[in-house]
């Protein structure tokens, strides 16, 4: 199992991880944890953001309406970052690191700054790629929060449960991503 897995083995491995997560805990999701991280930082700066409240369903409330929604469940996770979903996302970094160490697909020094297709199209200046990655990240997480999930939560976890929202999300995401990618990078 060295280098990149072919689609068949890769698909099985991916499918098994997603089903394992539902079997033992709950469907995989990632994008919520960006909110939790923001909340952790924000509540360090302004400690009044999250307060304990025995009347709230989760036991916590927040002055931010988004963190306060659904009985303050995000507020609770921000107050207790050592929870399943947050640790899960942190460990994704560890897993990829282990794969890279154990003969997984190798990225060159240049690839770690910008993929080859980017360098061919926009040149080797790292700052351009970093700016695009930053802008892309902002759009992706804003979109994911509006949609209530991302590629993991809506597309993979959603469609495996045959969730209607998962199909809606997937069609919408690809409907914009494909033409944008073709315009940005060409097909050569």
């Amino acid at each position: 199992m060295t280098g990149q897995l072919n689609w068949f083995c890769g698909g099985i491995a991916l499918g098994l991880v997603f089903v394992l997560a539902v079997w033992f805990v709950k469907p995989i999701g990632v994008s919520t944890q960006f909110v939790i991280f923001d909340g952790i930082v924000w509540s360090k700066i302004s400690p009044g953001l999250i307060v304990e409240d025995p009347d709230s369903k989760s036991g916590y409330t927040s002055t931010n309406p988004y963190l306060d929604k659904s009985g303050g469940k995000y507020a609770k996770n921000i107050a207790n970052p050592f929870n399943y979903s947050f640790i899960f996302v942190i460990c994704i970094i560890l897993g990829a690191f282990i794969s890279a160490l154990t003969k997984g697909p190798k990225a060159s020094v240049e690839d770690r700054i910008a993929p080859a297709v980017w360098r061919n199209r926009f040149g080797g200046d790292p700052s351009k790629r970093y700016l695009a990655a930053f802008l892309g990240g902002a759009l992706v997480l804003f979109g994911a929060r509006l949609a209530g999930g991302c590629t993991s939560g809506h597309m993979m976890s959603g469609m495996m449960q045959t969730s209607v929202s998962g199909y809606l999300f997937a069609v919408a995401a690809f409907a914009v991503a494909v033409p944008t990618a073709i315009i940005l990078y060409g097909r050569k």
Binding site: N6, G11, V19, L20, D111, R145
Partner: protein, 185 residues
């Protein structure tokens, strides 16, 4: 126990994302510009595998249907998906693959994740106006599925057993994965 599971499943997820090439932005761009369907085949087949095992597991009572978590459908899902699609093509990462790419030592992923913190923060700040716009009101039955799931989620196809519907969908996904060419010219 939950934390141990988080460590095991999270690490496995990051490992597999990296091994399948999903944390490589080149692979994402080549999929999105319809040039290399490796990742698309892996994703479709992954959904087919996961869905088949899930529905078979639930019908044998091995996987508890209370573990399911179906997300609601509302206009924001579609609009959010469109916005995410734009950022996906520009940044060439998704939230999960961007985090995985950090473990691969990719510097552009650091900027993607930082941008992600900003995007999520902006949403937190505008949430009240989004909510009052009605974009978050349920459509299509809210937390609905196509196949019956033995839980309280409404199913659009409720005249057939859930496992049959789910397996037919899984076979279609698997067939598309199989028939898609590896690459296009």
């Amino acid at each position: 126990m939950q934390i141990i599971l988080a460590i095991i499943i999270g690490t496995l997820f990051g490992f597999v994302l990296h091994r399948v090439g999903a944390s490589n932005p080149q692979r994402i761009i080549d999929m999105l510009r319809l040039k290399d369907f490796h990742l698309m085949k892996a994703i479709l087949f992954g959904i087919a595998v996961a869905s088949s095992i899930l529905f078979v597991g639930m019908s044998f009572g091995i996987i508890e249907s209370s573990h399911l978590s179906v997300k609601a459908s509302y206009w924001g899902v579609i609009i959010g998906g469109l916005i995410l699609g734009l950022g996906w093509a520009i940044g060439a990462y998704c939230p999960g693959t961007g985090v995985a790419a950090l473990g691969d030592g990719r510097k552009d992923a650091i900027f993607f994740v930082l941008g992600g913190f900003v995007g999520a923060l902006i949403y937190m700040l505008v949430f009240s106006s989004v909510k009052s716009s009605g974009l978050l009101e349920s459509i299509l039955g809210g937390k609905s599925t196509l196949a019956l799931t033995q839980s309280s989620y409404p199913a659009l196809i409720h005249t057939m057993p859930g496992i049959a519907v789910a397996l037919v969908i899984a076979i279609i996904f698997g067939l598309i994965a199989w028939l898609l060419p590896k690459s296009a010219s």
